[in-house]
């Protein structure tokens, strides 16, 4: 590929995304489709925000629904109880949630793997209880009504404005993720995702890094939740503090691919659209929960890296086979193959001469070419044998009422 077009290639998705977002409100045949578009964009924002933690650090959070809920309630309460202008309240709510994310992160990020998943679920359940029972402030299960920020706008116009607001927020989240991804900070995060102890032994302040990226993630999640409150205008603790939201986000990010910038967005488009479609055609059945669960299992088993990387791998494999058929192996490559074969052989011979840890050493040696991401930390030394589960088998909670019913 010529150099110029390779340099311009990353701009293609940016342009496609911009065109899609700018044209969708005009193309949507009716306000209901447009509002479904907002729901999907909301998911895209939340899934991208989730991926600051899930993608960079490998910590699977099912609690992000609660952070969105906090953003929504904080925005709603700042508007209704403190009388703030809507968008000032939105920003203030995000700042509040970010501040709260510091102690939350300090507590939750101390545990890894499955324990972290459980802590994140606990966060949701605790907040659900608090917001349900503190009725004098939150309206309890009767809900909190948030006045519309633009009372003069008709419903389709209202949707259109919020669609663009969500588009802007999504762009901001993607830009931030991209900046982190290519930075030294990002490399440190990716290192700790692979092996936290190893990263710290190389000088990465792992805990601080996890905390910073968690706060960043919480901020974008709160902005998404706050925008939802302003758009939807009605908050119910059961939907705002639902493990289901977190599970959807996990599914979307895993499906699209947590290691790629657009992965969660693609996942949100697929899953979000499917959810909206199922709700529209079949109404309130637990069927979509089953479908979600099955899809999650399939993704984790078949495409652990998600759709985008799977497509990219398939594409490069196609190109490589067409290349190797006309290419000759150079002498240097032959030599490399020989040396790596030789050292691999000596690696497996190792278990014979060092009896003290023969078992584990042997498996590590023979696993040199096949260390899977989920087990790499498991092949670590006993002293730091924290288990780190790779996938987040988030089980959706009991089917709650749908929150789309009341959509205006």
């Amino acid at each position: 590929m010529p150099n110029v077009s390779r340099r311009l290639l990353p701009l293609v998705p940016v342009v496609v995304l911009a065109v899609a977002i700018l044209s969708f409100p005009s193309l949507a045949p009716n306000p209901y489709i447009l509002s479904s578009g907002i729901v999907v964009l909301n998911y895209a924002v939340l899934a991208t925000a989730w991926n600051f933690v899930g993608g960079f650090t490998g910590y699977i959070s099912l609690g992000h629904g609660a952070l969105a809920g906090l953003g929504g309630y904080a925005t709603g309460l700042l508007v209704t109880k403190a009388g703030m202008p809507a968008f000032v309240a939105l920003i203030a709510a995000a700042v509040l949630v970010a501040a709260l994310a510091v102690p939350l992160g300090m507590a939750a990020l101390r545990v890894r793997g499955a324990s972290f998943v459980i802590v994140s679920i606990a966060l949701v359940l605790i907040l659900l209880l608090v917001f349900q029972s503190w009725a004098s402030l939150t309206g309890g299960s009767r809900g909190l009504v948030v006045p519309r920020p633009f009372p003069s706008l008709l419903r389709p116009e209202h949707h259109r404005v919020f669609f663009f607001l969500y588009g802007g927020l999504l762009a901001l989240a993607l830009l931030t993720w991209w900046i982190v991804d290519r930075s030294r900070f990002g490399l440190g995060l990716k290192a700790l995702r692979e092996d936290e102890d190893k990263a710290s032994a190389l000088g990465t302040p792992t805990f601080t890094y996890k905390l910073i990226v968690f706060v960043l993630s919480a901020t974008f999640t709160a902005l998404g939740g706050g925008l939802y409150a302003l758009w939807f205008g009605d908050l119910d603790p059961v939907f705002q503090f639902s493990v289901l939201t977190g599970s959807y986000l996990v599914l979307m990010a895993l499906l699209g691919g947590v290691r790629s910038l657009y992965g969660p967005l693609v996942g949100a488009l697929v899953v979000g659209t499917a959810l909206e479609y199922f709700k529209g055609s079949f109404g309130n059945t637990p069927l979509h929960l089953v479908a979600t669960g099955v899809l999650l299992a399939v993704v984790v088993l078949v495409m652990p890296d998600g759709v985008l990387p799977a497509l990219a791998a398939g594409w490069s494999r196609l190109r490589r086979t067409s290349q190797t058929s006309i290419r000759e192996v150079t002498a240097a490559e032959l030599r490399d193959q020989r040396t790596s074969a030789a050292s691999a052989a000596s690696g497996s011979a190792r278990s014979a001469d060092s009896a003290g840890f023969a078992g584990s050493a042997g498996s590590a040696a023979s696993g040199a070419g096949a260390t899977s991401p989920g087990t790499d930390a498991g092949v670590s030394e006993r002293a730091s044998a924290h288990e780190r589960s790779g996938g987040g088998g988030g089980k959706p909670d009991s089917p709650g009422r749908r929150d789309q019913e009341a959509r205006r």
């Binding site: 930075s183 030294r184 692979e194 990263a199 032994a201 000088g203 790596s340």
Partner: protein, 242 residues
């Protein structure tokens, strides 16, 4: 800078892995730490580098007490280490593995691009020196055990540590690579780096070290030049179980 411990102790439940170890390594030299399986050598490294917290006692590096410091702080103070079961970042390329050891600096400096040309140049120099430059763009998980061990060392060296702890560098490598690692340690030492090497291969230990500390049941039982240690009766006893 001198690395030393004072009355270091660490128990796992009823198992006392380190039992009041007072050790002083010689700065600027190649030190060896030997002892039977389970004598606490790896646990000692883990305590010294902050990976696990000692129950009591002190670790000093260059006169500073680093006992309760976090691993990254100890690493930044100048102590690098490898792991007994070689640890690299499996899904990163060799080049990224080495770049991950660059000090990111505080914010907003840490938000600058990770692929800084100068750092890439430096990383490639280390890969070249360890003979794995041709694997720069290969993911670590696709490399052989021996190559991964070299890569791990390249990462440690990238962080420019003053003192380097190696946990069984010869474990599982072929004789040719063994010689290369021995020569490399000598070379790096002559450039001013201090080494502490845990190793069961006595030929390697005796040929490259200046000072040997012998562990048995979590504490040093002998220390001295290799020629003396080779004939020390307590050492023979600990190894042969007499």
């Amino acid at each position: 800078m001198t690395l030393a411990t004072e009355n270091l102790r660490k128990a796992f439940g009823g198992v006392v892995a380190i039992d009041g170890a007072t050790v002083e390594f010689q700065p600027g030299k190649v030190n060896a730490l030997i002892g039977p399986n389970g004598s606490g050598k790896t646990t000692f490294f883990n305590c010294v580098t902050g990976m696990i917290r000692a129950d009591s006692g002190h670790v000093r590096f260059g006169g500073h007490d680093v006992t309760r410091k976090a691993p990254h702080a100890i690493a930044r103070a100048g102590v690098g280490r490898t792991f007994q079961l070689c640890r690299v970042f499996p899904r990163m390329t060799a080049l990224d593995n080495v770049l991950a050891a660059v000090r990111p600096g505080g914010f907003p400096k840490a938000l600058r691009g990770a692929r800084n040309p100068d750092e890439i140049e430096r990383a490639r120099t280390w890969l070249t020196r360890l003979g794995i430059e041709h694997l720069a763009d290969v993911e670590a998980r696709e490399m052989s055990w021996g190559q991964q061990k070299l890569l791990e060392l390249a990462g440690v060296l990238m962080a420019e540590p003053e003192t380097i702890l190696l946990d069984e560098p010869a474990g599982g490598v072929n004789p040719a690579l063994l010689d290369r690692i021995g020569a490399l340690v000598r070379e790096l030492n002559s450039e001013g780096r201090t080494f502490v090497i845990v190793e069961h291969n006595m030929d390697l230990v005796m040929s490259i070290s200046d000072h040997v500390v012998v562990f048995d049941r979590g504490r040093p039982i002998a220390a001295g030049p290799p020629s003396v240690i080779r004939t020390d009766e307590r050492v023979l006893g600990a190894y042969l179980g007499v």
